[in-house]
Amino acid sequence: MAHLAASHCRRLGTTPRRLALLAVLFALLATPFGAAQGSLLVYAVINQDDAELLTDMFRERTGVDVRFLRGSTGELVTRVIAERGSPQADVLLGGASTLHISIAESGALAPYVSPVAAYLPANARAEDGTWTGFYLTALGIGVNEERFAQRYGDRALPATWEDLLDPAFEGEIVLTDPVASSTAYLFVQLQLQRLGLEAGWDYLEALAPLVGQFPSSGGAPPQLVGTGEYTLGVSFVHALARYRAQGFPVSLIVPPGTAGEVGAVSIIAGGPNPDNARRFVDFIASAEAQQAFADQSLTTALHPDVVAPAAAVPFAAFDLIDYDPALAGEQRDEVLLRWQSVVD
């Protein structure tokens, strides 16, 4: 029989070895794509390793089969809004509260007031429960100490936003493109609100020619400053702190008058696992999850019982302006259009 089969194979121009390989291929192709049940699907804007940490903990505590998909803010927001008709995920984890507000306006979020999150101040959660804050971070300036010393010698590090306007820094500053990144838009709005519209635009128009590069991802400036591609970068303080904690020669500067951002979690309306989504929001609001997240992400936790890790910038160091996120949202199109016409 085997002999017959083998000769048959040869006649067809194949060999048993090739057949075996084909069989392996087909076995691979047969891998099912099906969705699991009793699970939870999370869109994560936070870092890959932070998302791994939180979902691993949640899985251990509850036994729920939780999976996440990590993407940039814009990418996942586009998804949530595009998928309104047939939501693919249950939870949007991370991203500025302002963003969650605009998604909520499109009707893509389901309200849930978590009893665990009762400790939150009014400005860190939605009144209608469409989003719940779970961390805080603020804008700062990162300096690559080595490159700074090499180029500017003993000069003092910049301490204020105005210090960035020194023409000596031309080509040495990295700022994300506000059109592409919510981090940079926060920076633009901060200047407009801090200085007033007219002086704010003067500031931005003076700064723009000094910027060496406008990358798209909010994660780029700390990376480019950390590795010394650029001397100075505008970024969230916690992202800079993470590079510093890894050993990169980065100094953190929190200029007086900065803007903070509340990172939020929200439930996607019509998602496949609404009960588990609510359990997940409760979990994220718990002291245990907030402590673990703060320890790793170096953001500031909102739960009062959390002890801030030593590597993080203490909350007391932030001198925050009275930032108006609603105004920032309203002006978005107008400001970005003007930005695109003054900065090429």
């Binding site: 099906g34 993407g71 940039s72 990418e75 693919q88 060496g212 798209s216």
Partner: protein, 551 residues
């Protein structure tokens, strides 16, 4: 003229007779292209409002971006084409030492996900790069058009190499020998025989590279600095501002030069096709004389420089994968490699989807090329254009078009592997199609006629006569689609779901957050596994990936 035009639209009279499979195939192919190329595109075309259009036209930022884009198309296409031709000439006719090794190098570049190459590029040539800073002590910035030019040349010359290698090997050596026997010098042979015969391949390469440069967003993003091009703007408008209208308008702007290139290439090729069909029967020739020593040395030097650069790229990736923290803590660790276990499903998906997509793409592009070129089917121009169109669509836009088109009934495909496979297959359809078109252009139509006169149907002719002759092109198309699909990012970034993570997207995420160790480890594993898969393909088709074309 009107008669020719009419034949072009309604087909050669009686085209459907004699082979029931021909009209079935035609309808199936036309339906596929209508649903998976035209329908998503129509949705994208309808997305921008009048306001979006006027905004796009009146903003200086985008006028500059348009100008920059066209500049890069001219620069990068020319340099990639020259490097690709020189490289292909070196390994096919230059008789350089180490030919086998040199042949594999462009494929290695193709198989590397572009952003990984870009990252390695920065680590090697950036302000703090291994070569620029550590070895040469320079403080140079590669950001800008010059760095982008270098990066795009290295990224896209492999495309020219793959196509031109196949073209050069397909040239009947007796023709060149005849020219030599008639007393032509080496330069004369190159100018009057080899180059004219390579014209279809050169044009196909030029078209592909030009369109690839038009829609390239990985390199401009990493290396462009403040130099904006349209493709990055499409991406920025979409992912940052969630501004589908402006993004679609900018993307449609990219279609204009793409269509112009296409028309140019088409008209030139129609003229050359008649003149230079070379494969009828196959002549046997004496071995070619080796090129002159200086030329050989120059060819060898070119290949060596490229190879060294590629070797350095991989060295950086491997070093990154085993270094604790790149640039800070040089101690060796296996943590990153062990961390890859977490991404095994993503790796498996990347390979399986890419293999499936390559199969689908190869079959569809062969059928399309055969039907358009040989069978006198109706709507040839439309079929031709819609097969080539995906090459002009920036990947991100294609991804969004797919989401717009296939996220709701009746064709709800999002959330599964099918849509990813289809997006990959459609993205590389033009590549396969052009490879087959170039190969078919070298086959005399009298071959088909002979088979048909002997009673073979159209489809039988395809399987029994054409396919064996274009087998090399088929392997080239499959391998090319496969390795591009493994590394693709832009077309699939919106399509990955919880059950279908992909390695390329994961690597980008990790690299973006500065987790280079794990990103490099995953990239190293992905590239290795891709080569294992290619070896398995070799086992199945009985052909090495280094010898893409055998006739």
């Amino acid at each position: 003229m009107t008669d020719a035009l009419r034949r072009h639209v309604i087909g050669t009279p009686g085209w459907w007779r004699g082979d029931p499979w021909l009209p079935v195939t035609f309808v199936a192919l036309a339906a596929f292209l209508a649903v998976f190329v035209l329908y998503p595109l129509v949705l994208v075309a309808a997305a921008p409002s009048v306001e979006d259009w006027s905004r796009v036209v009146n903003t200086p930022r985008w006028r500059n971006a348009t100008l920059n884009t066209l500049t890069m198309v001219v620069l990068s296409t020319t340099s990639s084409l020259i490097l690709g031709f020189v490289y292909a000439f070196a390994v096919t006719k230059g008789q350089v030492a180490g030919r086998r090794l040199f042949e594999a190098v462009p494929l290695l570049l193709l198989v590397t996900p572009p952003f990984v190459g870009g990252l390695a590029f920065l680590l090697l040539l950036g302000r703090r790069g291994l070569v620029t800073s550590t070895l040469l002590g320079l403080d140079v910035s590669i950001y800008g058009w010059h760095g982008l030019w270098l990066a795009q040349t290295l990224s896209f010359f492999p495309v020219a190499f793959v196509i031109l290698r196949s073209t050069l090997l397909g040239i009947d050596p007796t023709l060149e020998q005849a020219a030599r026997d008639l007393g032509a010098s080496r330069a004369q042979v190159l100018r009057t025989v080899t180059l004219p015969l390579a014209t279809p391949g050169l044009l196909a390469s030029a078209l592909f590279i030009a369109i690839a440069v038009l829609s390239d967003f990985g390199n401009p993003m990493l290396i462009g600095g403040r130099f904006r091009v349209l493709a990055t703007e499409v991406y920025t408008q979409l992912t940052g501002w969630a501004n589908v209208g402006t993004s679609a308008a900018l993307g449609l702007l990219l279609l204009v030069p793409a269509v112009v290139f296409f028309a140019l290439q088409q008209s030139v090729q129609r003229r050359t096709r008649q003149r230079f069909a070379t494969v009828g029967g196959r002549g046997v020739s004496l071995p070619e004389p080796p090129p002159s020593p200086p030329l050989r040395a120059a060819l060898f030097a070119t290949c060596t420089v490229v190879t060294l650069f590629v070797a350095a790229t991989y060295l950086v990736i491997v070093l990154g994968a085993i270094t604790q923290v790149w640039g800070v803590d040089a101690s060796v660790t296996s943590d990153h490699i062990r961390g890859v276990v977490r991404h095994l499903p993503a790796l498996a998906n990347s390979l399986v989807f890419a293999l499936l997509a390559a199969g689908v793409c190869t079959v569809l592009s062969l059928l399309a090329a055969y039907l358009v070129q040989r069978c006198g089917v109706p709507l040839r121009g439309a079929l031709d254009l819609s097969t080539l169109l995906p090459a002009a669509i920036p990947g991100t836009l294609m991804g969004v078009a797919f989401v717009l088109a296939f996220n709701t009934p009746p064709l709800r495909l999002t959330g599964g592997g099918t849509i990813i496979v289809l997006a990959m297959a459609v993205s590389y359809l033009p590549v396969g199609y052009r490879i087959f078109a170039a190969a078919l252009a070298q086959l005399q139509p009298s071959l088909d006629d002979t088979a048909r006169n002997l009673g073979a149907s159209r489809m039988r002719t395809l399987v029994d006569v054409i396919l064996p002759l274009v087998r090399g092109a088929a392997v080239a198309a499959f391998v090319f689609c496969f390795i591009q699909a493994v590394g693709t990012l832009s077309a699939v970034i919106f399509l990955v779901s919880f059950d279908t993570p992909l390695a390329s997207v994961t690597i980008l995420n990790l690299a973006e957050q500065g987790q280079w160790g794990r990103a490099a480890a995953l990239a190293a594993v992905l590239v290795s596994v891709t080569f294992l898969a290619l070896a398995a393909v070799r086992g199945v088709v009985g052909q090495g990936f280094t010898s893409l074309v055998e006739r």
